[in-house]
Symmetry: C2
Subunit: 368 residues, 2 copies
């Protein structure tokens, strides 16, 4: 059996995981203490405070779900949806589609508002659909990782609340890389992953619920179908009761603690600007290379750049050479973009001029 230490070093510039700073790796490897150890519980409180900061919220129910970003998605949906509820989902990529699927499995009557891959959802179309269906829950992906497009979230809450609905937003790729304003935007549930702009290994799903969402949770007529993700139980562990629910992924929480400390030291505004600057540098370099974006201008994410592979080029072979010869990982296309797009992630610790120059320089060589 080969050893973990034999694994090659990679520059992770795909759709996640992003490069993890040495400080975060060091925290990850700190000796494990108990999940009910008072010293660990204090650290969990720090994590909650750090998550409130990046989510821009004062929500008391803010925590990290013990699973990856998709577990955060499932937690948001299964806690807030009961069988028969009307759920409206914006779909313009893989993750909108996943939201719809998770809601269907939770027994919801799902309606979708669709947009072509590479285009943002249309706010007015969403609002018309909300007016028509009066959904219990409206769910939208903020930053669609499969297409590199930002969807219109700010301003949507008014229409959702007019029908007493809840607004659920997937912030997996946007959180800590661009503005996510849970309170100011009236978001009722937001979730993310740790392996994108937080630059922490994957394994936890930051999650926050508004008091309106908590009230909905408390009014449920049936138990949450998932015991593992039941937020009424999880908050007894993360809250003052400290009741044992499951054994938290202790070392992963060490890593998230350190990642949030780094975010705090840099400051959110500076972090967002760094992501924006890396995106601008990449945009200029891709233009030079003659590689067009497949995402619509004016709606592009800074941290996830979906780019057309040149006609006649085997995009998978180029990615494999990037990985094998240069140690650089970028992502391939999913769904409608499969086989014809690359996804270049500039997330967290990877949003630097050096990373941009490394990947565009390598692409220049390989495409010559």
């Amino acid at each position: 059996m080969p050893s973990v230490s034999d694994l090659p070093r990679r520059l992770c510039l795909g759709p996640g995981p992003s490069p993890v700073p040495p400080r975060v790796l060091a925290a990850l490897a700190h000796p494990t203490v108990g999940h009910l150890d008072p010293a660990f519980l204090a650290l969990m409180d720090d994590v909650r405070a750090g998550l409130r900061h990046v989510f821009a919220t004062t929500n008391p129910m803010t925590l990290a779900v013990s699973g990856t970003g998709s577990a955060g998605m499932e937690a948001a949906i299964v806690n807030l949806v009961e069988p028969g509820d009307r759920v409206l989902v914006g779909v313009n990529g893989v993750f909108g589609g996943r939201l719809a699927e998770v809601a269907r499995r939770a027994g919801a009557a799902v309606t979708t508002v669709d947009a072509p891959w590479g285009q943002p959802l249309d706010r007015e179309e969403l609002e018309r659909a909300i007016a028509r269906h009066a959904p219990h829950v409206v769910a939208v992906v903020h930053a669609e990782t499969s297409t590199g497009v930002v969807n219109p979230v700010a301003g949507l809450a008014e229409a959702v609340r007019a029908h007493d609905g809840l607004l659920v937003v997937d912030c997996v790729t946007s959180l800590a890389g661009m503005a996510v304003e849970v309170d100011a935007w009236g978001i009722d549930a937001a979730y993310s992953g740790t392996q994108k702009c937080l630059s922490c290994p994957p394994g936890l799903a930051p999650l926050t619920l508004s008091p309106r969402a908590v009230a909905r949770l408390e009014r449920r007529t049936r138990p949450v179908p998932s015991w593992y993700l039941d937020l009424t139980l999880l908050r007894s562990y993360w809250g003052d009761e400290r009741a044992y629910h499951h054994t938290a992924p202790i070392n992963m929480l060490y890593a998230l603690h350190e990642a949030l400390a780094i975010v705090g030291e840099e400051g959110l505004a500076a972090r967002f600007e760094r992501h924006r600057a890396a995106h601008d540098r990449l945009t200029a370099a891709l233009d030079d290379l003659g590689l067009p974006f497949v995402s619509a201008a004016g709606h592009r994410l800074p941290m996830l750049n979906a780019v057309a592979a040149p006609a006649g080029v085997d995009e998978a072979a180029v990615r494999r050479r990037l990985l094998d010869e240069r140690g650089i990982e970028i992502g391939g296309g999913l769904g409608a973009f499969k086989g014809r797009a690359w996804r270049i992630g500039l997330m967290g610790h990877g949003a630097t001029a050096e990373a941009v120059d490394a990947v565009t320089g390598a692409l220049r060589d390989l495409l010559a």
Copy 2:
């Protein structure tokens, strides 16, 4: 915000997490690579092979669920149970009760066979109940962490199969610390956690399904209610297709890879014997201290020792002093044992004479 590096060092002798060897912590901190990186996929294959070894199975569907042990429990139940199915659960502690609750939430008609806390389930009573109810699924906890009792699992499959049922076994605390024979015992689904006798941090749930269980899964009439835990999707990632499902907890899998390598080096028989020897040493020392077990003689787990706190002693205060003054963590009682028992875990790297002497020596001082 205090730093993770300020956390105190602890000797973890509670119900988990167990002490994590430095090699496993070092593997955990190896720089993160992508979850679809060929080098990482090869490592996942090693993990599957290592898990088959500890589960004593040839089951193709053997993997690590991206959550803690309770996620493994939920995965086993929600994949194999459909609404209305009859599920029989043995309950003689917290984790049997949890199995019943998870099955109820999955829509099962649940019957329980109960035994008092500290006593094992009665095999004949289980078999009579199986004959009476012809359950689709029989679920039993092998090593009940809340009471320190081993339940009779070997030999149960015959009765279960006589009615075409599936046998689900919780091996969270037993795996890699005592014999778990998935194939020889006819177990159809077994799951565990990483933070017990595997001596890895918490965050993954080893899981294996027999071909019979896979056939049941494939015959489902409704989709698995949990998208995150849907084994028909997870096996496309862990299997030859390598289809993206969710971003695996990459660094946690590094750690599990190393933990399984250590198990392989020691050998299962030697590892079980080490756990048994540590238990025997502890038993002798507790006898010296006049601290009786609360679990029935002849049915005690080697790795989890439930002991009565002396009358008149504030058991929580003793645990707190052990932690604060000696840096040793032991567990308190749960449920029926709350406030009157201690749980001393000798799991994985913690199953040593030195650990036994440390905890019993400290108890001798504190109880003097």
